[in-house]
Symmetry: C2
Subunit: 588 residues, 2 copies
């Protein structure tokens, strides 16, 4: 189900007599064949002919015959079933005369949206910009959510209070939209919400440019290991093209800068080697302590010769940071880092040689768990680790160097894709409060594994499975990320149950997605770009607060509107709630 497949050369609706004799690649939904050849195929439809059978819609790789039905038919040479509808559908959306009741259609909205009558309405609205619900159900797919108490209570289960959750991203709605077949390409400027503990440059509410596309593929190249262009060895090439084209347009229009035709691509593994693991060089007793703790010691080096624009920032950073270890260790004889104290002179010389250190270079050291931290992205010059301290230091150095005028980041925008991230992790502390020792998804559980690693996944070799995820990084700052999704229901179930070992109850918030996949979903993928971050970069300001009209502080409070604020116990009562502090706090 997840083998590579090529891009379509045409949409079904675009074929006409002028295409006679051409070989084409189509992708789309299969409809029942027409009994007679008489009526022409409908808008966006093409009739395929294979042997003596007919079917309507969109097949793959074919020379074209002329004039049998409608203007054009396609002689099918080869076809790939991308996703069968494996379960009995709750109803048949193609039959407008026998629709079930409103509730059933609401429950299976992704099937209802296949009805042309409905999807035409949605399409009329903003040319496929689709709004998705902000009030959703709590689901453990990523960050911590905000809850919204409802005055509706669960009368079936002893009047327990019921809650919506504010969307952390439109992940499931947008996938369901594509699964419905009603929308082929979706976009939205989506307001998202995350209840995260005060991070410097985050807001509890933020905006993302959100995309999702059906039939994302491996592109026109032959999908052999050597044939991939510029290291993009995963699906989703259409997402890459759309995003690069969008970014190129923005930079040309707003900055007058012409960006390269293709952005560079670096694998996660390659990016990680820019951070050097020096654990093997540790004194034997320290080394064994590291090994038994499952930790490694890593470093980044700011070289006086090649990184001169960051040397002043590095010195200044050392003075202002209190938590990090920084040493110009060749300068003095001793090493500031406790772990390296026991090195012999020979060991020191060996290490210096291995790292190619020169007098005046700065070296930044950091201890971290041995399993790779997965949310990390970097460019050669600067880097932001979503959660590694070295990543944060690289980012800080870059900022400082900019403030000092040693280094100008926007004058020369370097865009970079990071791909081939580990699909699963044990090392993300933010996620471990839900995973409780089990594997968790590095990004979210809907990301497809690389097809080269599918066998490894089913074999149980979880830690070596790479995902079809891509991060877009600008001068060391992550500005977006996305993935090709799992469109195979059996594989998605395997990931939920066997890899992540979610209980039935934990899987419940994903049931509608699983069912939608079973109804025959097209391969699809998407991305989200951080709009606030993007605007901050374009406005050349360090803080997203400078591009948000009414921002909140890093602890999530709003000093202007004075939110959050207390409410009365009386108001709380109607949600079936009371405050833990007790009823002696009744005065609002």
């Amino acid at each position: 189900m997840l083998t590579p497949f090529p891009s379509r050369t045409h949409n079904c609706g675009s074929l006409d007599a002028s295409n006679t004799g051409q070989r084409v690649i189509l992708a789309g939904w299969l409809l029942p064949g027409r009994r007679h050849r008489a009526p022409p195929a409908g808008k966006g439809q093409t009739q395929g002919i294979t042997g003596s059978s007919f079917f309507l819609a969109y097949s793959s790789s074919s020379p074209i015959l002329k004039g049998t039905t409608g203007e054009i038919d396609v002689q099918v040479e080869r076809f790939t079933v991308l996703n069968p509808a494996s379960s009995a559908l709750p109803f048949t959306p193609s039959n407008p005369f026998n629709l079930p009741n409103d509730d059933l259609r609401a429950r299976y909205r992704y099937l209802d949206l296949r009805r042309t009558a409905l999807s035409d309405n949605i399409k009329k609205r903003n040319f496929l910009e689709v709004e998705t619900p902000v009030l959703l159900r709590s689901s453990p797919e990523g960050a911590r959510e905000f809850l919204v108490p409802s005055r509706v209570s669960d009368t079936q289960v002893s009047e327990r209070p019921l809650f919506y959750a504010l969307q952390q991203s439109p992940q499931q709605p947008k996938q369901l939209l594509i699964c419905s077949g009603g929308v082929d390409r979706y976009f939205q400027l989506a307001k998202c919400f995350r209840d995260e503990d005060g991070r410097k440059d985050r807001q509890p509410e933020f905006t993302q440019v959100d995309l999702e596309m059906a039939y994302v593929s491996w592109g026109q190249d032959s999908p052999t290991a050597s044939g991939f262009s510029d290291q993009w060895r995963i699906g989703g090439t259409e997402i890459r093209q759309v995003v690069e084209s969008l970014i190129r347009k923005i930079w040309l229009q707003m900055e007058g800068i012409t960006l390269p035709d293709q952005f560079r691509v670096m694998t996660y593994g390659e990016a990680m080697t820019r951070i050097l693991n020096i654990t093997p060089h540790l004194p034997p007793d320290v080394l064994s302590a590291y090994e038994s703790n499952g930790e490694v010691l890593e470093c980044i080096i700011v070289r006086k010769s090649s990184d001169s624009e960051f040397i002043r920032a590095s010195k200044a950073c050392k003075e202002s940071l209190d938590t990090s270890t920084a040493e110009t260790w060749l300068k003095g004889s001793g090493l500031g880092c406790e772990s390296l104290k026991g090195l012999t002179t020979d060991g020191q010389v060996q290490l210096n040689t291995a790292l190619n250190l020169r007098y005046g270079d700065d070296i930044w050291l950091s201890k971290r768990p041995a399993l790779p931290k997965v949310v990390l992205s970097l460019t050669p010059k600067t880097a932001q680790g979503g959660s590694t301290s070295l990543g944060r230091i690289r980012l800080r150095l870059s900022e400082l160097a900019q403030i000092r005028g040693d280094f100008a980041i926007t004058a020369d925008p370097h865009f970079l894709w990071i791909t081939e991230f580990p699909l699963f992790t044990h090392a993300d502390e933010d996620k471990d409060f839900l995973a409780k020792g089990r594997w968790s998804s590095s990004h979210h559980p809907f990301t497809a594994p690389m097809w080269q690693d599918i066998e490894a996944m089913y074999r149980g070799d979880i830690e070596h499975v790479r995902g079809q995820h891509y991060d877009l990084v600008l001068n060391g700052v992550e500005i977006g990320g996305g993935s090709v999704r799992v469109h195979d229901a059996a594989m998605q179930e395997y990931i939920f149950g066997k890899v992540l070992q979610l209980t039935r109850q934990e899987q419940a918030p994903f049931n509608q997605l699983l069912h939608a996949l079973k109804c025959g979903a097209p391969p699809h993928g998407g991305i989200a770009l951080g709009f606030d971050r993007l605007m901050a970069i374009l406005c050349k300001t360090q803080s997203i607060r400078d591009v948000i009209a009414f921002p909140k502080t890093s602890t999530g409070t709003d000093l202007l509107f004075k939110s959050p604020a207390t409410i009365t116990e009386e108001a709380l009562y109607q949600y079936g709630l009371r405050s833990r502090a007790g009823s002696n706090t009744n005065d609002a």
Copy 2:
């Protein structure tokens, strides 16, 4: 402060040498004058000269002198101070070298946004499409809000839980944006949230096209009672023009229909007379009962001759409705309505003559409180009363007639403005749960009174004060509403304190707006159009659910995502909350 004033003829930035000798009307912010005439006025600035003094910016009504500073100066002939900055400003945003700390600037964000550095960022973002916070503070300005518990607790007051409220509309943020001076014209496709009990065609979350403009005025006409064009006797003519132009564009592009250059205007009073009060015709004993209850009996008539397209719908409606009284009362001798039972034959004839009733006409009767229901809007043919039962019946008749094919609504779109609503009401039950017997605002407390009625308001003649509110109605369906706002802090305080009699605590959520007005806010006004409703009309469907990708049911539940849903007591605990049902419900 709220006297009528004319539209500006030019923006300050648009004046150049070619305007020499012209008389112009400018409106804008006053900046300190420059000591020397040498440097030209900055972008968007004009220097005014009055006697021997100079000031920079935007004055009013002037012939133009050439070449003294910059390209053009304006000789001030007459000026009106629209709003003085009456309180000492917490800081001076025009001085970039002496900015206070982040917290103070965050608290007075509407002053901080006057800084060009910041407002330029906001302006770069989407050509003045500005995003406002969804997570706001609870404020009693209209509908019931959704609350969002925060994990931050109020440590100063015995750890009481703290809550955000989801915006019911961006009312305060957009006014603060205009008050800031950083944005002259704002728009947003805003996601809004209302926790209302299941109404047929409402969604707990919905989208509105939201506008706000500085310096909305009485237009170019001389603002005398007789001089107003087409009955628009209030401010906000710029809003009217922008909205009519937008609607005309949409209908031309999507429907191929050319709408009239100006939409019709009807006053609330005139609209109300389409519903006939027949209380005076009641038998004496019934009449006195009505009077002591403060009630009136009203009717609408579906005439066989002039309203033939609704007659079949009216008959069908009578059969399906259980709560309303409907009688073809001339048909039989008796009257179905209890209140009219005691009429003498003379009385009947008199009433029939007064109402000009003919055999076969349908008459719909309804009792309601004597004070005018304020949320009502109608066209001659059909009408929707936001809360009157006759209004609902007219809407239902229109729907039925459309379903039966007797009447096609979209073939001939009738747009209509309703103006001059009562500014305050006692009669809105939805609002009375907050007002508790006090006056409440018909729309929201920021709507300005008509200038003709300001004196009446200060005199305490509250019920006769009309507001500068306007509703836009399409074929009887309200599709938008807005108003000119109070920009005079003293008047706003009077309305909060003396008219609405809000306690100091109830006024707290409005403090930032009051303070922003005191810092010198321009006159402003705005409107919100219901985007879902508009799309439903354009898609020719009765339900907004048909134009929303993932709608909720009328009770606010989502059958697809199964929200709202229960959460664990453990999760509740971190918000300082517990469920009322007790701790025996710990299994999620």
